[in-house]
């Protein structure tokens, strides 16, 4: 049996970031990844490095994470393909622009000024290829995009350089709490640790269940498409506010198109199939916003399993049921940019018992439970 201080379950970008940060705090860490590092959501996403249009609970984390991204080569020894190209939410309709204006006012009221409302002329000057019918947008000039694959690899290599042991094809079967820690069983092997960190993504609830905790995670399969190479015409990342879209041109000229429309699949068998009705709607959005792309071929479409919660923000923090267990999963399709900071916060929670940024909104026990609802009904029925 091997021992360590921490087992991190799930070797995606969040798992590798948590492992790196824990190792930097002097802990001995083993990462158990059931497939290979970055197999799922970490490399299936669009690589958007975005503070733009975040849920207000995520904003402080995203702003802190942005500092890492701007200096990522120093932190990880790799530039991760990151470029500060800016991100722009585009309003196709007047109503959408009004909604952005409302958002802008609210954010400033909360003390945030990273988002900037821009009018149609400014937008068209920034994105000359965009349809002339746009109404304006909301921009964060300090946002950008990175390569999900290279970023995940960079976290992995940095973690391993700090002494983290990463086991791939390592599937956790059982967790058993002991007096001062946990016994973790995987593939006929057993690891004895003080603490478990659960970064198992779309499978996070299964790991939690092994520890006796019920967490209402669901999952979905946001689809992505990539086109053939196109001569360079776009710098910032474009997200759409009326219709789902995320849209960027990669350094090699290909266009990466997302938006979150779901594929249909089976988490158990890890299979899925592309839904062409959804892809069609996304293609219409692209065609309407960038008419000159009409004849560009789509080379490939794919999707990745993402964990999700009903309120569209993840679970970050200590288990509500078991000691020495910490969760960071269910990022609802927008976890990539947060990876540098969430890993740090998890390490702080494990080592110091508190985090340097507010994490209450992400508490694992924030969901109303089924039992609670029935109980209150029964109480009401008895008068």
């Amino acid at each position: 049996m091997s021992t360590a201080d921490v087992v991190v379950i799930g070797g995606g970008i969040h798992g590798c970031s948590a492992a790196l940060n824990l190792a930097r705090r002097g802990l001995k860490v083993i990462v158990l990844e059931k497939d290979y590092v970055g197999r799922h959501a970490s490399t299936a996403n669009a690589g958007g490095v975005r503070t733009l249009l975040r849920h207000t609970a995520e904003v402080p984390l995203a702003l802190e994470a942005r500092k890492f991204w701007h200096d990522i080569e120093r932190h990880l020894g790799s530039d991760c393909g990151y470029h500060t190209v800016g991100q722009i939410a585009v309003a196709e309709t007047e109503q959408a622009f009004e909604d952005l204006a409302v958002r802008d006012t609210r954010m400033r009221g909360l003390g945030y000024d990273h988002e900037e409302l821009i009018d149609a002329d400014t937008l068209k000057a920034l994105v000359p290829a965009i349809a002339r019918t746009v109404h304006g947008g909301l921009i964060v000039r300090g946002d950008g995009a990175a390569s999900p694959f290279h970023a995940t690899q960079a976290f992995r290599h940095a973690a391993e350089a700090q002494g983290v042991v990463i086991r791939e094809n390592a599937r956790v079967d059982a967790l058993e709490q002991t007096a001062n820690g946990w016994l973790v069983d995987h593939d006929g092997m057993r690891v004895h640790v003080s603490t478990i960190v659960n970064t198992a993504g779309a499978w996070g609830d299964r790991i939690a269940a092994m520890a006796g905790e019920t967490i209402p995670l669901s999952w979905f399969l946001p689809m992505m498409m990539v086109t053939a190479r196109v001569p360079e015409f776009l710098e910032p990342v474009i997200v759409n506010t009326a219709r789902p879209l995320s849209f960027k041109q990669m350094p090699n000229g290909t266009l990466l198109i997302g938006g979150g429309r779901p594929a249909v699949g089976d988490l158990e068998r890890m299979t899925y199939h592309i839904d062409f009705a959804g892809l069609k709607a996304t293609a219409q959005t692209v065609r309407d916003l960038f008419p000159h792309l009409r004849d560009i071929p789509i080379m490939r479409a794919w999707a990745g399993f993402e964990g999700r919660f009903a309120d569209d923000i993840p679970v970050i923090g200590p288990s509500a049921g078991a000691r020495n267990l910490f969760h960071a999963f269910g990022f609802c399709g927008h976890g990539f940019q947060l990876a540098p900071i969430v890993g740090k916060l998890i390490a702080e929670l494990v080592v110091d018992g508190t985090a340097s940024l507010p994490t209450d909104a992400f508490a694992v026990d924030r969901f109303p439970t089924e039992i609670d609802e029935n109980l209150s009904d029964r109480i009401a029925a008895h008068g």
């Binding site: 053939a228 190479r229 196109v230 001569p231 360079e232 000229g253 004849d295 560009i296 071929p297």
Partner: protein, 101 residues
């Protein structure tokens, strides 16, 4: 590079890189270009090395050309049409207008 065994039945004229090519109705564009002696039909996307058709059945995607301003067309899967304007596919680094991968 390749010669026809039979006379053209119904000649079809089109343009390749500004030059007139006389093909036969029913020819694939790839075949017509080979009969015309064209050796290179595209640039490799990274090295820009010369490339041409390999499989001629739609599998290798080497025969990509630009037809009437639309890039990424498989010449072996396209039938010749009168007046088509065909160009080599360029590597899409933006230096050549219209050529995209």
């Amino acid at each position: 590079m390749f010669k026809r065994l039979y006379e053209r039945r119904r000649p079809v004229a089109f343009e390749f890189e500004g030059e007139e090519v006389i093909s036969d109705e029913g020819d694939t564009l790839a075949a017509a270009l080979l009969a015309h002696g064209v050796r290179q039909t595209r640039e490799a996307p990274v090295s820009k090395n010369p490339r041409a058709a390999y499989c001629l059945i739609g599998v290798c995607f080497e025969c990509l050309v630009e037809i009437d301003g639309r890039p990424n067309r498989q010449a072996c899967m396209t039938q010749v049409r009168p007046g088509m304007k065909v160009r080599r596919q360029r590597a899409a680094d933006g230096t050549e207008g219209g050529g995209a991968q």
